[in-house]
């Protein structure tokens, strides 16, 4: 059975990205996993206890976000899995894709003109291209 990973972080594009991933999994009869990476590197050099708290709270936020996505998938008749990882975002996604031998990665990109987003569409496209080349998988960028 093929495996689809939907990387999500609760941004502007998350709802349509998750819906696209659910539709794709149902269409292909694939296993769907929602993935969230708790990356606290943005806080910079702070003391360890605070950095740990940031990672922990991000993971908690991720679990809640993925649970919402999982419930919505269930409403559409799909039993999805959830995974929360800790580490740097791009490397963690890459490692996970490799580990589970995923066939497809679904990620979202903000629409032009939306408020400031975590990362820009060109950055996402570059990341998608790198995943296609390095892992030889299908990468779907939902805009």
């Amino acid at each position: 059975m093929s495996s689809i990973i939907c990387a999500t972080r609760g941004g502007e594009a998350c709802r349509r990205t998750q819906e696209k991933a659910v539709a794709l999994a149902k269409e292909q009869g694939a296993e769907l996993t929602f993935l969230y990476v708790a990356d606290s590197s943005f806080v910079g050099p702070v003391d360890k206890s605070l950095a740990d708290a940031v990672t922990d709270e991000m993971a908690r936020l991720g679990r809640a976000l993925l649970r919402v996505a999982q419930l919505r998938a269930r409403d559409q008749g799909l039993a999805a899995q959830t995974v929360v990882l800790q580490g740097t975002v791009q490397q963690s996604i890459k490692d996970h894709l490799r580990q589970v031998e995923a066939s497809t990665l679904v990620i979202g990109a903000p629409r032009t003109g939306t408020p400031p987003q975590t990362f820009t569409p060109p950055e996402i496209q570059r990341f998608a291209q790198a995943m296609r080349q390095d892992l030889d998988i299908e990468v779907l960028v939902v805009t």
């Binding site: 939907c6 990387a7 999500t8 972080r9 609760g10 941004g11 502007e12 594009a13 998350c14 709802r15 349509r16 990205t17 998750q18 993935l35 969230y36 990476v37 990356d39 590197s41 943005f42 806080v43 910079g44 050099p45 702070v46 003391d47 206890s49 605070l50 708290a53 940031v54 922990d56 709270e57 991000m58 908690r60 936020l61 809640a64 976000l65 919402v68 740097t88 975002v89 791009q90 996604i93 679904v106 990620i107 979202g108 990109a109 408020p115 400031p116 987003q117 975590t118 990362f119 950055e123 996402i124 990341f127 939902v142």
Partner: protein
Amino acid sequence: MENLLVNETLLVVLILVATLVSVVARRIRLPYTVALVLVGLVITVWRPLDIELTPELILSLFVPPLIFEAAFHVDLRLLRSTLPSILMLAVPGVLLTTFFVGAIVALGTGLPFATAIVFGALIAATDPVAVVALFRELGVPRRLAVAVEGESLFNDGTAIVIFRIALVTAVSGVFDPVDGLFDFLQVALGGMAVGLALGWVTAQLITRLDDRLISATLTTLLAYGSYLVAEQMHVSGVLAVVVAGLLAGNLGVTSTSPVTKSMIFNLWEYLAFIANSLVFLLIGLDIDLPQLWSNLGSIAVAVVAVLLSRAAVVYGLSWLISLSGSRARVPPSWRHVLFWGGLRGAISLALALSLPANLPHREILQAMSFGVVLFTLLGQGTTIKLLLKRLGLIERPEHVLERERHLGRLLAIQGGLRRLERLHRDGVLIDEIWEGLRDDYAHTRNTLGGEIHRLFAEHAELERELLLQARREALQAEHGALIDALRQGLLSEKIFSELRADIERRLEALALIQASVQSRRQPPAGG
């Protein structure tokens, strides 16, 4: 009796002018403190009024309510997370500003160094009233507002203490650094201790009595009383008011009923409005334009000195804080706001007016003070909004405002419903009326709920914000539960402190996450 009537008439006219100015300022979107100074200036040119703005009038009548109100509204939790940077700017920052300004002014104007240092000290305190009012209106990040307000609260106290030491040195010609440091610590810590003691007692009384009129009166007594007691004890009245206000706002009022809370908040909003209006109008009325004109060269030097020193202190100390790895790092965009938002106001003028008549170059110092205050108010106060816009600190998309609006309505409805339920339970509302009102409220709530769902479907990122907000609320409730457990003797102080520290760290972590999702600093992570 006649004098009383004259003064009363003058007061009524001043308040009337201030009210009209604030109405017009709101329409033309000018900070109202700036508009008040301008109108004061126009009146002075047109028909000078015989009003003497004495330092006592500013310091003992206007400053206590202004500082108390500002401290009262500061969230201690947010203040704690920015405290290292606030204290760096408010203590070493004020000392460095005093020295830099003094040195540049001495070099640029030829004033004796000791005299120039007096000017450096009196102009070191920032007064961001105009800026903070704008912050509240525009909705800049709360932590930034707290940083600006917090710095101003504490640097008022330190600047006054340093000013007094510098003045004694300038008059006597003798400066003993050890004595100076000892005096500084004694006056500053003494003031804080007075504020701590009176603030704590008042907070306890407010919590226990929970009577709106008595509580409001107690806060008024605290604002003026802490200042007077501290000054009588020859310690810092301003720092006493700061600490008293922080305690009253964070320990006293938070646990009172909504009616008491609303009464106290409205009272202080009103008192601060009146005090602000009068003080800035009086500043405008008291400006001696010919004197400013004849000292234009010195004023230009003073303005340059103040701007250069502010830049050195803000950027330099922020850089040091970031090197130290402290959790209270000042983001680069905030540094620009702290620099350009460092307006000078009432405290500087009060100190300038309090200079002894026998101090050499007194008139030049006063002219420079008024000149700098005028420049910062008219130049910086009117352009800070542009800076905030340029830095993207006030970008609030319509859907975010809409969610906030819905949330506000929802909370208001819940509050109303709870009150009605209570009235019904107490037998005040008969069953039919209660049911009718309840159904109506429930209908409105459901409609609102539907609109919120629609908003979330269209703007998915709002869900993440709601999650963060809910988690913050939950942590605050956890904090409250710990306090209850401590009071009931279920927890020891040691365990309570441990658990509280963990919650505070988590709240800080949430604030950082919130700030990161609102900016572009978070790394790529998918939709």
